[in-house]
């Protein structure tokens, strides 16, 4: 980072600026992401066991781990919802134009070496497809799992009603269906992390928090002035 860059690019270049290594994913965001990943893997593994698909963990332990992991994940999501709204980061998940372009890129462009149609920026962490996927993760799959999971967990409070039999069946169905969707999401999500510049680029980004993104003049000026966001170069 030096002042020459400014004069070299000049003010004509308004939308895009120089690329800089900036802290794109803050400490909390990364903590959230990786603890969520760990919990989801734990839940999926124990959940498959509870569903009777494997017995590599005894049922009693599986129930215990599954329950505590679920409670931890719910707690994490409560914090994260709070974080998303207080930091304004929730806007990242709003619908963006250009979903079709992104889909076209992953279906074809990526194979023939086209550039990604979406440029990452400080306020543009996710491409249109990502936003859509994460949004449905947070508004559909996640709630289907935690809401059915909580009702499932509290079975003993409603087991006395005459409809509890059908109720349990329904809850189990929703929970299982949502779990399969979650599993599918995770597989695709993990694969997508390999589609960066190098196969591990995105993973490194999610670990360190830094990514090389183009900054606008205003963004750079703001960072230099306030040091609100950490910049490596």
């Amino acid at each position: 980072m030096n002042s020459h860059a400014k004069t070299r690019n000049g003010s004509t270049f308004k939308q895009r600026g120089e690329k800089h290594y900036v802290m794109l994913y803050t400490r909390y965001e990364r903590f959230w992401h990786w603890s969520q990943a760990l919990l989801i893997f734990t839940l999926f593994y124990t959940g498959l066991g509870l569903h009777g698909l494997h017995d590599w963990l005894d049922f009693r332990t599986a129930v215990t781990v599954h329950t505590f992991a679920a409670l931890a994940l719910i707690l994490l999501w409560i914090f994260t919802t709070f974080w998303n709204f207080t930091t304004g980061q929730w806007r990242q998940y709003l619908f963006k134009e250009g979903v079709v372009k992104v889909i076209r890129f992953y279906a074809y462009g990526i194979l023939v070496g086209e550039p990604h149609p979406y440029k990452k920026g400080l306020q543009r962490k996710q491409n249109a497809l990502q936003s859509l996927a994460y949004m449905s993760f947070m508004l559909l799959i996640g709630p289907a799992l935690w809401s059915s999971g909580i009702v499932y967990l509290l079975y003993d409070l409603w087991s006395g009603y005459s409809w509890s039999g059908q109720g349990l069946t329904l809850i189990a169905f929703i929970h299982t269906a949502a779990a399969y969707l979650m599993g599918t999401f995770v597989i695709i999500h993990v694969y997508m992390t390999t589609t960066g510049k190098t196969p591990t680029h995105y993973i490194k980004t999610m670990i360190t928090g830094y990514d090389n993104v183009e900054l606008t003049e205003a963004e750079r000026a703001y960072i230099e002035e306030t040091h609100a966001i950490s910049m490596k170069d």
Partner: protein, 566 residues
């Protein structure tokens, strides 16, 4: 003498031999008299001989009366009724109380179903009917001399106090009548009862008192129940945590609490789900349920697994998890009885085959001419079913359709959504027994007697049924055949230690213990077929999709780089 039939010795000679041996042992080996008596009597016929007379419960010195000091008990006594008279001279109300007990009446009017139950009426799936065979069966009636209908149920002197209250272990009962000569062995090898001694040694019943009948239900050790047999006289911790002789050493009456000689815990009207709470002082205590001591939330309330287990108690009887298997004490229980093969003889005499050796080393009959063929089980996984506590009996009056499959002699109802049922363990007994082919009812058989018509002597079903029905005024078509029956015995004893209880996956798994119970969703056992298929397709599809995509990327990137370099 276990191999008596194969040796071909006639019963008379054997009796003489036994008497001779007993005589010798009396003179020379007074200390081992019980053992030699036992060794020379067919355990299988005379199944209630007790070799170890040590009391299961020691005198705790709690009693305010020393019965040896009572003048009325000094004797001499010549018979049981004389002793009873002496008992009642002090315990003036005991007779009145006891006469209301099912141990005396052998009758139970079920208020819910209106059925008349009790041994006096019922047909079971073992020796089938006590009625008309009291000469044999009433050896387990707590009275003296019930041979036939002439028995006086109003005479208090006929009550047998000693069978429940003798603490010497030397008191015994033989069948009220002699029966056929083939059965004479049942009366052999017994020391005469020392009436004054037993009268002075009375106390609260120990397990051996109740067990002298209840361990031997169905005609032999452990035959009927599967969770009640002679191994419970001195059980260890593994066999029963409550009756553990070196531990709490519960008597039967510790749970089967008594009020005026009436006991809690009836099989005719089971409390399948006790929501009455703990019997604190002043509150209800007239139940024998687990919950009446342990509450409905017996597991840890402050840890997840405990909370989850407490959540089971509304649908799962305690016994279901805490009695993992039955007949665990080395004594087998009968699981199958086929009357059709009964009546075979060798040289005109009945015989036995003892082809089953049970855990404690004893040989059990797999065939008896008088009864048919048997199968046994040990460490048996119980049969599980939803049970609302109400048995519905197929009585002698019940007409059934033999073509509709096996008859449940004591069927029951229950379902996952009736609000009262819980999943209970049962011993399921399978039997093939005679029935009235014309009227489609069960039959009373005349088994016991020294007359020409008794089956245990003449081996003729036709005559035994005809007389059995006639004697009791039951219509009989004159034709019999055999029908398959089931009976169900709720399991509640042989409670295992904590570390041996069922693991969750015994039921929460595919092909687990509750696989046979349908109509409700159970995690780990059930799944939605189509949802799982769709789920696999989604997961598998995603996996294959990304692998293919990755492969294409690799191929294209090579192409791209070749293009760039060229």
């Amino acid at each position: 003498m276990h191999k008596q039939p194969s040796l071909g010795i006639r019963p008379g000679i054997l009796a003489c031999l036994t008497a001779l041996l007993l005589g010798i042992s009396n003179q020379l080996l007074a200390g081992t008299e019980h053992e030699s008596a036992a060794a020379h009597v067919d355990q299988d016929m005379n199944f209630r001989i007790v070799t170890d007379t040590t009391p299961s419960i020691r005198d705790d010195g709690e009693s305010t009366a020393d019965h040896t000091k009572f003048e009325a008990l000094q004797g001499p006594f010549e018979s049981g009724p004389e002793v009873t008279k002496a008992c009642l001279s002090c315990h003036t109300e005991a007779g009145r109380h006891f006469m209301k007990s099912i141990h005396w009446t052998w009758e139970y009017d079920n208020p819910a179903t209106g059925q008349k139950l009790g041994k006096k009426y019922l047909v079971n799936t073992f020796c089938t009917n006590a009625r008309g065979n009291e000469g044999m069966c009433a050896q387990c009636h707590a009275g003296y001399g019930w041979k036939d209908d002439s028995f006086d149920f109003t005479n208090q002197d006929n009550i047998d106090c000693l069978v429940c209250h003798d603490r010497t272990g030397t008191y015994y009962k033989t069948p009220p009548t002699k029966g056929n000569k083939a059965c004479s062995v049942m009366f052999e090898g017994r020391q005469p009862i020392e009436w004054a001694k037993v009268a002075q040694s009375v106390g609260k019943p120990g397990r051996e008192n109740c067990g002298s009948c209840h361990f031997y239900g169905g005609g032999g050790d452990g035959v009927k129940h599967g969770d009640l047999d002679s191994s419970l006289k001195f059980p260890d911790h593994k066999l029963d945590v409550h009756m553990d002789a070196d531990g709490p050493n519960f008597a039967c009456t510790t749970c089967h609490v008594t009020k005026q000689h009436l006991w809690a815990g009836s099989r005719y009207n089971v409390m399948a789900h006790d929501t009455g709470g703990l019997g604190l002082p002043g509150e209800r205590r007239d139940v024998a349920t687990c919950e009446s001591c342990h509450s409905e939330t017996p597991h840890e309330k402050d840890e997840l697994v405990g909370i989850k287990l407490n959540g089971h108690t509304d649908k799962i009887a305690c016994q279901t998890c805490h009695i993992p298997t039955i007949a665990r004490g080395g004594v087998a229980t009968k699981v199958d009885w086929d009357w059709r093969t009964a009546g075979k003889t060798k040289n005109g005499e009945g015989y036995k085959e003892k082809n089953y050796t049970q855990g404690n080393g004893e040989h059990r009959a797999t065939y008896k001419s008088i009864k048919g063929s048997f199968k046994y089980g040990e460490n048996l996984v119980p049969y599980y079913a939803w049970f609302d506590g109400q048995m519905r009996y197929t009585t002698i009056d019940t007409h059934f359709d033999p073509a509709s499959g096996p008859i449940a002699v004591n069927g029951f109802k229950g379902s996952h959504d009736d609000g009262t049922s819980r999943i209970w363990p049962f011993k399921q007994m399978h039997t093939v027994q005679p029935y009235d082919k014309g009227n489609n009812t069960l039959v009373y058989m005349h088994l016991w007697g020294d007359d020409e018509d008794a089956y245990w002597g003449n081996y003729d079903f036709g005559r035994a049924i005809k007389v059995g029905m006639q004697k009791n005024g039951i219509p009989y078509s004159g034709e019999y055949d055999f029908v398959e029956t089931y009976s169900y015995w709720p399991i509640t004893h042989m409670v295992a230690p904590k570390e041996d209880v069922l693991a969750c996956a015994e039921c929460h798994s595919r092909d687990g213990r509750l696989d046979g119970l349908k109509g409700f969703y159970m995690p780990g056992r059930d799944h939605f077929r189509w949802l799982d298929i769709l789920g696999y397709i989604a997961l598998g599809g995603a996996l294959i999709g990304v692998l293919l995509h990755g492969l294409l990327r690799k191929l294209f990137s090579r192409k791209n780089s070749q293009r760039t370099s060229s």
